[in-house]
């Protein structure tokens, strides 16, 4: 399925774009928290989107923190930065240097997590918009919490026709800990095709 949609070349280009975006985001985060933060992007995957496929992509997680950012313009859809179980809590605690007694995120911690996700997602979109020379606008990010089903069931209703799911697994390397997260981008077929078109245009120019 994804073979038909994204060629290896497309895949490589997108991966590269995410890499650059993540690099910038890591830079921004490091400056903010005065600690070295490295973001690694191991792989990119595209599947036909359904609550099941999203749940599958998230593994055995029972509880999620997801930061949703809607984007529109030449490319449109919803982007999520998802932290499974307590990795979101861990990340915030590491960044803020708090003790890890409580398993729930407080108001301030939720804000922090939202900003961190916002930095990452914005960096990636800016990079895509810049390189592919397209126009993308994003909304203010929103924090969602719950089980995979609770979180994503509703989102699919606004995802447009035959949506696809683009997933990018990533790891936050903090000095004391490494924390896993995943960027998931939900796009309608139409939007994905636009992305492919832009990628092809980019290839023509630079190859």
């Amino acid at each position: 399925m994804n073979q038909a949609l994204l060629s290896d070349e497309h895949n490589d280009t997108l991966c590269e774009l995410f890499n650059i975006g993540m690099g910038r985001a890591a830079n921004s985060l490091s400056e903010m928290v005065h600690e070295e933060v490295i973001l690694s992007v191991p792989q990119l995957n595209t599947v036909k989107a359904s609550p099941t496929s999203l749940a599958l992509s998230l593994g055995q997680s029972r509880y999620l923190h997801a930061i949703e950012q809607c984007f529109s313009g030449d490319l449109s859809g919803q982007a999520y930065l998802v932290f499974d179980d307590f990795s979101g809590v861990d990340l915030v605690r590491q960044l803020l240097g708090e003790s890890a007694m409580c398993q729930d995120l407080g108001e301030l911690e939720q804000e922090t997590l939202t900003e961190v996700a916002n930095i990452i997602l914005n960096a990636c979109f800016c990079c895509i918009a810049e390189v592919l020379e397209c126009d993308i606008e994003s909304d203010v990010p929103l924090l969602l919490k719950g089980t995979p089903n609770e979180l994503f069931h509703l989102q699919f209703s606004n995802a447009g026709l035959a949506p696809y799911l683009l997933t990018v697994s990533m790891t936050f390397q903090l000095p004391s800990k490494s924390i896993k997260g995943q960027v998931s981008i939900l796009m309608a077929t139409e939007s994905l095709q636009k992305l492919i078109k832009e990628l092809e245009r980019f290839s023509l120019i630079y190859t």
């Binding site: 921004s28 007694m101 409580c102 301030l108 922090t112 606008e137 990010p141």
Partner: protein, 693 residues
Amino acid sequence: MLDKEQTLSDIVLNNAQCGLLIIDSDYLVVDSNSWFLNAAGLSPDGCLGEKIFTLFAFEQPKTLKRVIDQACQYGMASVLSSSLHPRLFPLKNRHHQPIEQLCFVTSIKYSGRRFCLIQVQDVTDPTAREKKLRHITTQLDKCSLALKYSPSSVAIFNSDGLIEFINPKFSEMTGLSESKILNMNYFSLTCISSYQLETEVWALLRDGQEWVGECLKRNINGQEYWTQDHIYPIQSHDGTISHYVAVQNDITQLRNITHEISFKSTHDSLTGLINRQEFERVVTATVAQAELATSNYLVCFLNIDKFKLINDTCGHAGGDELLYQFATICQSHFDKSHVIARLGGDEFATLITSDDSESAIRRMEALIDTIASFRFRWGESVFSLGVSIGLTIIDETIKNTDDVIKQAESACDIAKDFGGNRLHIYQADDKDLIQRQGDTYWAAKVNQALEADSFVLFAQPIIPLQQQDKISFEVLVRLKDQSGQVIAPGLFLPAAERFNLSHKIDKWVIDHTLDWLANHEHELSEIDHLAINLSGLSLNNHVLLAHIIQAIEARKIEPSKISFEITETAAIANLEQAQQFIDVLRCYGCKFSLDDFGSGLSSFAYLKNLKVDILKIDGMFVKDILNDVIDEAMVRSINDIGHVCGMKTIAEFVENAQVKQRLTEIGVDFGQGYGLGKPMPIDDILLSKLDVA
């Protein structure tokens, strides 16, 4: 402002309760609202067209630059959290206090250009609240962890007693799930079962006081456990009590251990009866309330007759078994209202509560009969038992516990002195006599007598029943006290034995008998021999053995003129050494007789091993020989066996001519007893032998 004319939206913007700031891609301030200007302490003219970075000194200008760039160039929205940048802009409130901020950055399009709209929210108060809440939550989390892993069970119930909260330990202890426990009544659930107790607890609690106590509870499986409960009322600031906290600790194990320790400290481990300390405590309590009580209280001191013999014969295991069986018999003889104790060794005591003393005494006499009919079996041996009981009645003359037990003990000693297997009742008026029964008194007397030479020798004739034999005499020892009164050995010999003085008495008797023999050698041709009693202790005494031979040699006495009487029990207690002692003296020419045969172990098997010359048949078979066919058969068979073993036989307790006649018919060789001749001072032999002859 983008448009100088005041529009509705301008009015709205300037009345908004958040800061609004519009910045272009060159970081110039395009517009801002009143809230922002006030908080920043700027005038509208002072900031419009100015570069944001020259207006304010930012801690992290790069962050702001990034979000402005992303908004103006790509249309990206951002969040700048209060946790990471609490004071992004140096803003102050009306009271000149710094404002903590949460900023939303969005991209707006106007006239084909993108601008950056920064919306600044004052989150000072919510942040402070959040931090406080956070702190409380953390504390609460710690408390709930402490409660979760607490080894104590904790419950909170309301003023109706209904449980509103429990920790996991509470669930574990009761065996019920949390959902079942909630809304149940605390007191019904935790088995503070008695209505009275529950009322007491409530009275205290409602009074604002805490209650502490131990309760027996039962879990869902019916298993009982003990807890120590602390219940505290929770008072609100106005003093009203709405809830109670109950903390329970499982103290079952502790109680068991405490109980075990207290049981061990108050009980005898062998028999399970209470020990001396506990008995004394019980008696003390009884003495204290004796005046008020309507019942009679009797204290008995019990001593097993011949226990030492069985202990020596069967070993300690046998002795212990006997003590255990004896205790069991006593326990089944008395009901639970009576107290039975083992004071130590073979000494037991009872405290009897009875409406009348007579029935209590009868009960004790019944115990003697029970013990007498009991047979103790150990290996192949069977022993009959006897018990000596001293009894005293607790009355108002009793001053303390020691007195009571001492009275009972001395009464028991008298019972023993009278031959054992009997009950003696302490009487205050024969106090002098009681004192004289005391072992220490007699031990001292014996020592004095040995030093002062105040023993005297008596002799009782042993009369031939079959004509052809010569008369013999048994030498007996008496103590002459200061007043000249002659005291029978039954009073002082047991004390001498207990204080290891008996061999000294034996030596005294031997020396004086030999002296007497030497002095009257020529007047004694009609006498076959003199029989001297030897105690068990002497049989193990090599020094005494050497001394006897030496003494006979020195006085040039014919050894066959002397015979030694040993009891079966003494001989058997240390058979090997006794046999050696006997062998040496028999080889030397002295005779030996086995005393009281039939009263002790009554095993004919010993006759094969013990090489003696004479068998003395115990008086208890002899005295009723005329009426009791069994006794007669016993005498007959002992006599026959004795003869077969090559021994002469002597019957004791020959009380009259009829008995003598019957014994003669049976074929017993000699007779001894009041019917044939009473004990007399030894010098009287010289006169009396003529009579008999």
